[in-house]
């Protein structure tokens, strides 16, 4: 398959475009996914005002028309609930929740309707919806536009959660999410949008529930996801120079969780660190540590460690926000202190 360099943003756009070409029941909806609805010099000329607040969905309304690319009012309950029932009645909607922090205004439709509908109906319905949403700190966007919160959704039975880290994975995982028969929440880190990487042409799906070993190592396993994958890989290179051999696992989909890859790795390295940009309590870090403690405790040579954001909202001021985000330096020092302990 031919590959070429695309940004993370372009990879997501391409995944949606290919699926909309392949399947006429795929529709996209959200605030300003096209923008400028009904305005003569914009929609009237087949154009878009924005194509998504950060341009991720640019060109889709132009190619597929406003019947399948729907600008919505700022009514997340209404349009996400609509996407849920549209999914249950024959469409494959992709709904955009602009920032994940806005889940508070629509959680009933996600949690009580979308996630539970199939179960409450005794399996006699399915909800093939994708909710795309932006996550992540580092944009100086403060407390209501910067969280990760994927652990909140991972906690909920009925939902699948995807946190891609590269353009290649973003495309393949989004294609899989759109084709998936269950509700999938797809978390896009806003600071990855401009990241470039090799992306194959054509369509390919990366199965949900399969973690990716990004770096083979023998001495310590680091489990992470999203933007933190790149921080951990950078830290691993530095640690290699210090003689510490790190295995890096990109979880990719917190739910379904690839337990085997994590457990096999820990059984090999005997040490575990989880690095997560989400908050620490009841999060992915505690979840992975619990998994390993329960199922691979005897293999551990040291207590597992968690390096996460603190138990605070995301602050605005630059030095505060920089402190909030787990840094490469913190990852290096955490791993060094872990490895310094006698095994």
């Amino acid at each position: 398959m031919t590959t070429r360099t695309l940004t993370f943003r372009e990879a997501i756009n391409e995944a949606i475009r290919l699926e909309m070409r392949r399947d006429s029941t795929v529709v996209l909806m959200g605030e300003d996914v096209a923008g400028g609805a009904t305005i003569p010099h914009i929609e009237g000329k087949g154009e878009e005002a924005w194509g998504g607040v950060l341009g991720v969905t640019k060109g889709l309304a132009t190619e597929f028309g406003r019947k399948r690319v729907l600008d919505t009012p700022i009514s997340e309950s209404a349009f996400i609930g609509a996407a849920v029932a549209a999914a249950a009645t024959g469409l494959r909607p992709i709904a955009e929740l602009m920032f994940v922090d806005f889940f508070g205004v629509t959680m009933d439709q996600i949690f009580n309707q979308g996630a539970k509908l199939r179960y409450m109906f005794g399996g006699k319905a399915q909800v093939p919806i994708v909710i795309r949403t932006m996550i992540g700190a580092g944009f100086r966007a403060a407390g209501q536009h910067s969280g990760c919160h994927y652990s909140v959704f991972t906690h909920m039975p009925g939902l699948k959660t995807v946190v891609p880290s590269t353009p290649h994975d973003a495309k393949g995982l989004l294609i899989a999410a759109i084709r998936d028969p269950d509700p999938v929440i797809f978390f896009e880190h806003k600071l990855l949008y401009d990241m470039t990487g090799e992306v194959p042409e054509g369509d390919y799906a990366i199965p949900l529930g399969v973690a990716d070993v990004k770096r083979q190592g023998k001495q310590v396993t680091v489990v992470t996801m999203g933007r933190m994958v790149h921080f951990v890989l950078e830290a691993a290179e530095k640690l290699a120079q210090a003689g510490i051999d790190v295995e890096v696992i990109d979880l990719r989909t917190p739910s379904p969780l690839d337990e085997k890859v994590v457990l096999d790795s820990v059984k090999k390295t005997h040490r575990l660190v989880v690095v997560d940009e989400d908050n620490p309590r009841c999060g992915m870090a505690t979840d992975i540590v619990a998994l390993v403690s329960e199922r691979a405790f005897d293999y551990l040579d040291a207590p597992p460690r968690m390096l996460t954001a603190p138990h605070t909202p995301v602050p605005f001021s630059a030095p505060l926000e920089d402190y909030y985000i787990p840094s490469v330096d913190k990852i290096v020092s955490t791993l060094k202190s872990l490895m310094a302990k006698p095994s």
Partner: protein, 323 residues
């Protein structure tokens, strides 16, 4: 009334009677301790569900409420499966996983009773959107109560349905109380139908105990939706004989209120009208009454004889596939 065929009149009576018989029996069963959980009964509001669903086919959709048994029966959901669901049995509409507040039958266009007040408004926009995108003439009816009318979801949904011209009929069932709180207190509007103006759609207020008034108003709204002209709001004002939930002491209602309800009973009103005009015979109605009793007897027997789901069923149907 003249334009309703005799066959349809008999169907309407049969559905209304079946709802009443079903709900009265559920009240007895619940009070006797035979049914788990809690149930919200529809008796008194039969003319609304039936008057609306008389215009719908299995291909059309409805969204419902916590008080959903009447909507299910009006939409043609199997009564045996419904009763088995209330008993939590494996043969229930939802295999015993939903219960009273989540009875659904997507094949019949019944998108679920709903335990969340106001939860159905956005969902109705979704099935409406499906019909619009796929270019079918399917109509969705969103039943919601006067309590739900105060939820933001309903306002968002009416606005969205209107700007997207979705084939949705919003049917506000004003049964006078949101739980124990009167609509005259919880609603700022003089009527819920008035709110249609704000969303640029037709809104009418009708007597929800008068089958013919509901039938006529719903007929216009459904036809408008089917023609692709967008949503409407029909407020139907009625009452409920039972409490918010079965077991509610109904301290907020007086004996005089109840007497006034009985004087306006929707099924008795219907009987009187069709008999006075000689459209159907006493014998035909009596036969329907007997059949409703028999159907509910059989449903209770079926439910009580049905097995509980195997405990392993707890773990299935969460996902279509989950590695």
């Amino acid at each position: 009334m003249a334009d309703i065929s005799k066959e349809k009149l008999l169907w309407i009576y049969e559905r209304m009677r079946l709802i009443r018989t079903f709900e009265d029996r559920v009240a007895e069963l619940f009070t006797a301790g035979n049914l788990p959980g809690f149930v919200h009964l529809y008796a008194g509001e039969e003319a609304i569900a039936v008057g609306v669903c008389a215009h719908l086919t299995d291909r059309d959709f409805i969204t419902s409420t916590h008080r959903g048994h009447g909507h299910c029966i009006a939409k043609g959901v199997d009564v045996k499966a419904m009763m088995a669901e209330l008993y939590g049995r494996a043969t229930g509409s939802c295999k015993g996983k939903g219960g009273s507040m989540h009875i659904a039958d997507v094949g019949k266009g019944m998108l679920g009773a709903n335990g969340i007040v106001g939860g159905g408004g956005p969902l109705a926009c979704g099935s409406g959107l499906t019909a619009k995108v796929l270019g079918t003439d399917q109509v969705t009816t969103c039943f919601y109560g006067d309590g739900a009318a105060e939820q933001g979801t309903m306002h968002e949904a009416m606005n969205l349905a209107s700007i997207w011209k979705l084939p949705v009929v919003f049917v506000c069932e004003n049964n006078l109380f949101a739980e124990s709180t009167p609509w005259t207190y919880h609603g700022a509007s003089k009527s819920f139908a008035d709110r249609a103006t704000a969303y640029n759609m037709p809104g009418v207020l009708v007597d929800g105990t008068d089958l013919f008034a509901v039938y006529e108003a719903a007929g216009e709204a459904v036809a408008r939706a089917r023609r692709g002209e967008g949503p409407s709001l029909v407020e139907t004002k009625a009452f409920r004989y039972y409490g918010h939930f079965q077991g509610d002491a109904i301290t907020y209602r007086t004996e005089a209120d109840l007497a006034s309800y009985r004087a306006r009973d929707p099924i008795e009103q219907f009987r009187k009208r069709v008999l006075e005009r000689g459209l159907v015979s006493e014998a035909e109605l009596a036969e329907i009454d007997a059949r409703a009793t028999q159907t509910v007897d059989e449903a209770v027997h079926y439910a009580e004889q049905s097995p509980y789901p195997a405990v392993e069923e707890c773990l299935t149907d969460v996902y279509v596939s989950y590695p």
